[in-house]
């Protein structure tokens, strides 16, 4: 029987679709403009397209995996629900005061983000629990009813509850929930001890109000999408949503935890990188995604993406989450992505001191780069690539959109070249140098500043512009090997169809890592494991496909940032605990350059990650060809290469015509529908079994 799955990633500009036939390994792809007013429309566009394109229709479609920006957009555009918040008496302004800092030291007109709940809807109840979870003052139920009266008369759609130290004892929040449930049927509830039972009241309040704020919006979106699917398809496919943590959850589970989806699409791109690495036997990778306006880097070590436990929505500057909080902090396990404003649409300009800058302004899709001839006149990174011959004007989007190289040339010459007193191609190369330096900066943030040497990693470049820049970035970082996946512009959608189901449970337990606490630590872990197993059972994952891993988030006593330490033993004996602590010391040395074997270590959070394995589709094998790629050659054109400081006549190949084992020696360009791959002089690319290009740069330490 035919079994089909669809991955659909709704991005800011485009919605990417991939249909995969599990039997034949065939892939169908489709790209369509996103429809922000009603995001489900561009999702259904793909369903319609595939239903028509495929003679057999969509019979056998059992799974749709979806990456969505619905929740992030609702927060950024402030179009979420009307929310009421209940806090401990005396603390309703915690949400607004946050960490009290100025969002920007040098821009006095910048404000902190407006809280998602206005002050008149932030209400208080009399109760108090201490840091050990002891009840100091019982909950006053009358206060809860007074809050309810206000919420009723104001007509709130959702209520968030965040009481002090509820992570240590959820009893009062539980009671508040019961009362709310009875008095406000149909109102969406978000309870902090259920959603984020971790200490630090502002981050927890911010998370729980964000859930309440987007929950009703997300619920409606999912309901409408499911109805749409049910109308078109019988039986309707199982709808899964990608989480920021790089695993799926079924839509019905996710509607109660919408904060887990905020970096849905980018996480899928990292996941696709992990999967590709697994198939190629490569475990240490850097995923690098360059789109139209942003570049995103993420480190994968030993086949696992690096994780963070918090995101900030609407952050001012810097890629370091949680260091100086300037956006809305949302606690949610997420793949550690560091991004910068650098992409194909980034605009180049000359500042007052005569320095060449690229970004943060982007020409986006509208008005677009100058060469699109769609109204844009600012020189962009794409224009620079056109001027240097790296993008072939007549092969862009498979020839569907003819680019105007003269417009790119003029924009760069007038706005950059003349100002810096250099010819257009030098100015264009300068634009690439500056934007590449910005990108190298975030590649270093995810590697060097986390204690890893990028030379020991494989660079996996994707997104529309990733393959254009990968060679230069690898040279800069000393990376020895680059992999360009097939369909690099649709790689995130690819990540969706190979994803497993994933659930993560975390709770704060302050416990010194000493033998006396062994059983308490073990118990804490067991609770998290059980919670993961419950979720996997709700997801109907067969027991044999359930895998649960355990972690302790640890630090030296009196430190403030925790490191995640995997627990691979039973934690039954003192020596088991010693092994875990030893791992922590090593990790600390690696991360910060020092450790102290004498200093006391404590557990802050106990954590478990449950994975429900979903069978991985096997992509079709690319037919084998000889070493010579001549059959894929389109022609020869001039491309400027910085290393030679000259234009070199070099072959251009059509990627879809390449065959397994073809070898391409640089300098060369490989063109495809939504991207171009630059193969620098002295680099050598080999076409792999799935159509991936593995480029050897001659540098780095081979892994």
């Amino acid at each position: 029987m035919t079994r089909l799955r669809i991955g659909v990633d709704v991005g800011g500009t485009f919605t990417d679709h991939i249909l995969f036939d599990e039997e034949s390994g065939a892939l169908y792809t489709f790209k369509t403009p996103s429809t922000p007013q009603d995001p489900s429309r561009s999702v259904m566009d793909g369903v319609h397209q595939f239903a028509t394109e495929r003679p057999e229709g969509l019979t056998g479609l059992w799974l749709m995996a979806h990456g969505t920006t619905v929740n992030t957009n609702a927060i950024l555009s402030r179009t979420g629900a009307k929310v009421g918040l209940i806090t401990t008496k005396g603390f309703r302004d915690v949400l607004a005061i946050g960490r009290q800092t100025r969002p920007h030291f040098y821009r006095w007109d910048v404000d902190r983000p407006e809280p998602l709940v206005p002050r008149y809807l932030r209400l208080e109840v009399s109760e108090r629990i201490d840091s050990q979870g002891r009840v100091l003052l019982p909950l006053d139920a009358e206060d809860v009813h007074r809050c309810i009266d206000v919420f009723k008369s104001e007509g709130v759609d959702a209520v968030a509850v965040c009481l002090l130290h509820s992570y240590a004892n959820p009893i009062h929040e539980g009671r508040v929930k019961e009362i709310l449930k009875e008095a406000l049927p149909g109102v969406y509830l978000a309870i902090s001890s259920e959603l984020s039972p971790e200490f630090r009241e502002f981050e927890r309040s911010s998370t729980v109000t964000a859930v309440a704020y987007v929950g009703p919006v997300f619920q409606k979106y999912i309901r409408e999408l499911q109805q749409g699917l049910a109308q078109e398809l019988n039986p309707a496919p199982h709808l899964y949503i990608m989480q920021s943590s790089g695993g799926m959850a079924s839509a019905r589970v996710e509607v109660d935890r919408p904060h887990l989806t905020l970096e849905s699409g980018p996480a899928a791109g990292v996941l696709a990188t992990v999967d590709l690495g697994n198939r190629l036997g490569m475990k240490d990778l850097i995923s690098f995604d360059i789109g139209g306006t942003t570049a995103k880097a993420s480190l994968i070590r030993d086949g696992r993406p690096s994780m963070v436990s918090m995101l900030e929505i609407g952050k001012e500057a810097t890629g370091y989450y949680g260091i100086r909080i300037t956006g809305l902090p949302i606690r949610a396990p997420s793949i550690d992505l560091v991004e910068c404003s650098a992409g194909g649409g980034s605009v180049a300009w000359v500042d007052v001191a005569g320095l060449l800058k690229v970004g943060p302004k982007s020409a986006g899709a509208v008005p677009g780069p100058a060469c699109y001839d769609t109204g844009g006149s600012e020189p962009t990174v794409t224009d620079a690539n056109v001027v240097l011959g790296r993008i072939s004007p007549d092969y862009f989007l498979g020839g569907r959109m003819a680019l105007k190289p003269d417009l790119a040339h003029r924009a760069i010459d007038e706005k950059i070249g003349k100002k810096l007193g250099m010819p257009a191609h030098e100015a264009a190369q300068g634009i690439l140098d500056v934007v590449n330096a910005n990108m190298v900066r975030i590649l270093r943030v995810v590697s060097v500043s986390r204690g890893f040497d990028p030379r020991q990693f494989v660079l996996v470049a994707h997104g529309g512009a990733g393959p254009l820049h990968a060679g230069d970035l690898a040279e800069e970082l000393g990376v020895g090997r680059i992999v360009i996946p097939p369909n690099p512009g649709l790689f995130s959608a690819m990540g969706l169809i190979i994803s497993d189901v994933q659930t993560i449970a975390t709770a704060t337990r302050f416990l010194r890592a000493v033998p006396e606490n062994l059983s308490a630590i073990r118990e804490g872990l067991i609770q998290q494991v059980d919670q993961c197993l419950d979720t996997l059972n709700i997801e109907a994952i067969p027991e044999r496909d359930q895998v649960v891993e355990r972690f302790l988030e640890m630090r030296y006593v009196r430190q403030n940032f925790e490191l995640e330490v995997p627990v691979t033993n039973e934690l039954a004996t003192e020596s088991d605990l010693e092994d875990v602590v030893a791992y922590f010391h090593r990790l600390h040395q690696q991360s910060y350059g020092h450790f102290d074997a004498e200093a006391p270590v404590e557990v802050v959070n106990v954590k478990a990650r449950g994975v429900g394995r979903i069978p991985k589709p096997q992509p079709a094998l690319l037919p084998s060809g000889g070493a010579d790629p001549k059959d894929a050659m389109i022609g020869r054109r001039r491309v400027f290469f910085k290393g030679y400081n000259d234009w070199l006549e070099c072959p251009h190949y059509d990627r879809v015509k390449l065959l397994r084992n073809n070898i391409i020696k640089g300098p060369a360009m490989v063109c495809e529908f939504d991207s171009s791959v630059t193969i620098l002089p002295d680099h050598k690319a080999v076409v792999g079994s799935m159509g991936e290009l593995v480029i050897e740069t001659g540098k780095g330490e081979k892994s």
């Binding site: 603390f91 100025r102 200490f199 630090r200 260091i323 009196r558 430190q559």
Partner: protein, 580 residues
């Protein structure tokens, strides 16, 4: 101005990399430090200094005040240690403001040379505000009631903590013996040194990549770039002399406020320049509310960077375009052995007076007077030894196009749940104070009330300003409210705690409350849109009475609606009374 000699693209690339190295040093410090002040409140900074000792680049996550930690450190270091005696693997430590260190003893700076091919090519450094560096009371180095710097804590001149990679155990022992809570300071030192060493490695990579000659030239040119940008920014300000006068509450010896007088001179010729002159400023104060010259320069740079170009590096090139003059031995240029622990009070008012002076010619990016600064220190004796220091936010001044920021400060607060985990104290409230924002067309930010309840016998230390002189309003905006600190404010016997204090004993169940003031308003409050006043009333930031009194806006408290006719009448009569 020098012509750029290198390819401008190389300069830009190296400049970006220096910024990212400075960021990495800072993140490494924050993530592995032990002090609450560094790890949670991020009262710390990092820097890249060139081989001549000039500041080139600071991390944008650095506290603006900490530029002074580095401004003269490089110069002092090269003066004290002949270049040929500096070795790869050295790490220097300094905290004394009068010997090339930061602006008060609590800030401790670490600096390491960067060598490439045996040649000294740069320095990197970081600074963190330690909760204690000894002295007569816990956290004294940030408090204001000492009468000479010796009482404020251990003075560390520029000395090597590491010599050629070797820890100088005797120096470490000397430091640790002289501070309270030595174990945690030891942890902080590891974090300082570890992150500086990471910075050294990253710098070496950068120099290797470009070669030391290109690297050195690029650093020179980055200074020229900052100079050029500063001068470019100055051209957008009208030429002239602009003055302002603000007062620091008192010097606690008397009730007399201390004048802070400033004159800003903007010139476009022969070269665009700004001169900020503090002639006529009072002091020095007998107590530790003085500011050393480099601290004053730092805050002026912070403000001028904000006005001239928020993206420019406030480095040695910037310094060529912005001059700061201060008479010898006054409040903003104190000399040894003047105490200066609570110098941030002056720092908090320097922006207020500069913005006020320039308010006639700038209408973006400035603020009316703010709430000042309020440091609260708590400590306990054995068996409950602890030291906890925090600054509490108040209202920011209103801005030319919007209200002031509510409850804001330059450093972060400490989460209540983190505080209660770590210290024998509880918080009873953290909330905005209604009617505390200075009325204006745009309202000043409101202040914060925070209550701490003691669980054991403890001591409170305080340094806080704007207890007598509120944050001034601008252009007919009204002043903000004053700050008060009170023991047991809701009891039958409330006691005011003075604004500079070290050992105020408190007992279990005592409540210590700060009512941090609001910011000044901007523009005439009668011009504030009644709808905005109503919104403030609905949100409880302005009371019904305050709306009438301060804004002439009448709100029906039952309906929560504006009475438009009554408002018009009231505003007319207030205007008439003003003229009369």
């Amino acid at each position: 101005m020098t012509q750029t000699r290198l390819n401008p693209i190389t300069v830009e690339v190296i400049g970006n990399t220096l910024a990212s190295i400075a960021d990495e040093i800072l993140v490494g410090l924050i993530k592995s430090a032990y002090s609450t002040n560094i790890k949670e409140r991020q009262d710390c900074s990092s820097v890249v200094i060139d081989a001549q000792g000039r500041v080139v680049s600071i991390s944008d996550m650095s506290l603006p005040m900490h530029l002074s930690s580095f401004m003269f450190t490089g110069e002092a270091l090269l003066k004290r240690f002949p270049r040929e005696t500096i070795q790869d693997g050295d790490v220097f430590i300094v905290n004394d403001p009068y010997s090339g260190g930061p602006s008060h003893l609590a800030d401790v700076t670490f600096v390491a040379p960067v060598f490439h091919g045996g040649e000294l090519v740069a320095f990197v450094g970081n600074t963190g505000h330690w909760p204690d560096v000894g002295g007569k009371a816990p956290g004294q180095a940030a408090l204001g009631d000492a009468t000479e710097i010796y009482q404020e804590g251990l003075r560390i001149p520029l000395v090597r903590l590491y010599r050629a990679g070797e820890l100088q155990r005797d120096i470490l022992d000397l430091v640790l013996l002289n501070v309270r809570d030595p174990d945690n300071r030891d942890g902080d030192i590891r974090a300082h040194v570890g992150s500086v060493k990471l910075g050294v490695l990253r710098m070496q990579d950068l120099v290797t990549q470009h070669g030391s000659e290109v690297f050195a030239t690029a650093l020179d040119e980055l200074l020229d770039v900052a100079e050029l940008k500063a001068r470019h920014g100055i051209l957008s300000l009208a030429e002239g002399e602009y003055e302002a006068l603000d007062y620091l509450d008192d010097d606690m010896d008397s009730d007399e406020p201390i004048p802070i007088r400033v004159k800003v001179t903007i010139r476009h010729k022969p070269e665009p320049s700004v001169t900020v002159d503090y002639a006529g400023t009072g002091g020095p104060a007998r107590f530790g509310i003085n500011m050393p010259y480099h601290g004053t320069v730092t805050v002026v740079f912070w403000v001028m960077r904000s006005i001239l170009d928020p993206d420019v590096q406030p480095n040695a090139g910037f310094e060529r375009a912005v001059k700061v003059l201060a008479p010898d031995n006054c409040l903003v240029n104190c000399k040894a052995p003047s105490p200066l622990g609570a110098r941030y009070e002056v720092a908090s008012q320097i922006p207020d007076s500069l913005f006020s002076a320039l308010s006639g010619i700038i209408s973006k990016g400035i603020e009316a007077g703010g709430h000042g600064t309020h440091g609260m220190g708590f400590s306990g004796q054995p068996p409950h030894s602890f030291i906890y220091y925090e600054t509490v936010g108040g209202g920011g001044g209103a801005r030319p196009n919007k209200d002031g920021i509510n409850g804001v400060h330059i450093t972060s607060n400490l989460p209540i749940e983190a505080m209660e985990q770590e210290f024998p104290m509880m918080a009873d409230r953290l909330e905005y104070i209604p009617d505390s924002g200075g009325p204006g067309r745009f309202r000043g930010g409101v202040g914060i009330r925070k209550d701490w309840r003691m669980l054991v016998d403890s001591f409170v230390g305080v340094h806080s300003n704007r207890h007598r002189i509120p944050g001034p309003g601008l252009l007919d905006g009204k002043d903000g409210t004053l700050t008060r600190i009170v023991r047991n404010p809701d009891s039958s016997s409330p006691e005011t705690i003075p604004r500079e204090a070290t050992f105020v004993p408190v007992s279990p169940d005592d409540v210590v409350s700060i009512f941090a003031g609001g910011g000044g308003g901007y523009g005439d409050p009668l011009e504030r849109l009644p709808e905005h006043v109503l919104q403030d009333v609905v949100n409880g930031l302005v009371t019904v009475e305050g709306a009438q009194r301060d804004y002439g806006v009448v709100v029906d408290p039952e309906q929560g609606q504006l009475d438009i006719k009554a408002t018009e009448r009231l505003r007319r009569s207030i205007s008439a009374n003003r003229k009369a």
